[in-house]
Amino acid sequence: MKFKFIEKFKERRKRKKNASGGIAKKRLQFAIIYDKLEVSDTMLQSLHQDILTVISKYFEIDRESLKIDIKPTEDLSSLVVNTHILRAKPSSAKKKKLAAQKASQKKQ
């Protein structure tokens, strides 16, 4: 026996999730934030590039995964940067130490 009503219910929920009202709300929230901040696409792109460079100094990251979002909160907009970290890069002091160790090992 198939529970038709359950399937119908599921389908209805799915439809509601994908309904255009929610899409409208999301689009509006972004449109309004961008309107207010007057951020341009080129500015966002160069910010993206700069953040990549800065983070890459300290971490090895999946460059493709870096995402920048401007999100609405109660009374301010927040800039959210998300990225996958592969591993931390050794600090410059550590690097020197490592290099020194290698050099001494070679001598021996």
Partner: protein, 269 residues
């Protein structure tokens, strides 16, 4: 006591400012207030036809500001509703003909003679808007549950804040069936996006078209859900701040269906 100047505005055109002005003005007059509604859409006047007073225009708001006539001559008395007056816009001038100072002076005079001065603001954010809001004490922002109208409302709200006016929102033309289906922004969505206080929810109502066709205010029509919603908004403006805001329902619920079957249903309640 001095009267209150309330501007009805929206940013976007065609969302129902003029209907709202006429309805709220009429409803406030029905609540025993002396009310004047003023059309500030210079060059594109319409409040006069919506109110059915287009044949009685002699002087306009431009004449009143420029001292061509006195206020009593410019204010047309509505014959159906006691203490309701209209100051029409001029059709031959354009929006640059007035200045904010003139409006402030005129509204100062009107405050002495009326309890409420309701101003129908033109669409846009240019000089017509600036003149219409120049003397306003309060503002209502009319918005429909559409992306374009909400975005423009946000812009207008920002401009009103810059003038130290905290506006309230009227969400107009709600289609409850579509909201329930998820295919229309709900009033909660709009309030959240605009972060603004709500003063009324108005359902889409065919009676409004009939009302503008005939020039009879929607609040005088029987069984008009929109007319009733505007009446409740007027009550809230008039001091009944605790009057709950009714959310338009589709009337498709089980009980409503049953009630309608046995002839107890109320249309659009």
């Amino acid at each position: 006591m001095e009267g209150k100047v309330i501007v009805i505005t929206s940013g976007k055109g065609g969302v129902g400012k003029t209907t709202a002005t006429a309805s709220i003005g009429a409803a406030l007059a029905l609540e025993d207030n002396r009310v004047v509604v003023m059309d500030m859409d210079i060059g594109l006047r319409n409040l006069d036809v919506v109110m059915g007073l287009e044949n009685r225009i002699v002087f306009t708001v431009v004449d009143a500001v420029n001292g061509v006539c006195d206020i009593k001559q410019a204010a047309i008395k509505d014959r159906r509703i006691k203490d309701l007056f209209l100051i029409p816009a001029s059709q031959s001038d354009n929006k640059d003909v007035l200045e904010a100072e003139g409006m402030i002076k005129l509204c100062g005079e009107l405050r002495k003679q009326y309890d409420y001065i309701i101003i129908d603001c033109p669409a846009g954010i240019e000089k017509g808007f600036q003149n219409a809001v120049a003397a306003a004490d309060e503002a209502l922002v009319i918005c429909t549950p559409e992306v374009s109208a909400v975005r423009d409302a946000d812009r207008i709200i920002g401009l009103l804040y810059a003038r130290s006016i905290t506006p309230k929102l009227v969400l107009n033309r709600i289609v409850p069936q579509m909201v329930e289906r998820g295919d229309m922004l709900s009033h909660d969505d709009v309030v959240e996006v605009l972060s603004i206080e709500l003063i009324g929810l108005v359902p889409l109502d065919e009676n409004v078209v009939v009302s503008t066709n005939t020039g009879v205010p929607a609040v005088l029509q029987k069984n008009s859900p929109a007319g009733e919603a505007f009446q409740r908004i007027a009550k809230r403006i008039n001091g009944d701040v605790d009057l709950p805001i009714e959310v338009p329902k589709s009337g498709r619920g089980l009980w409503k269906k049953l009630a309608r079957k046995i002839g107890m249903g109320r249309r659009g309640a």
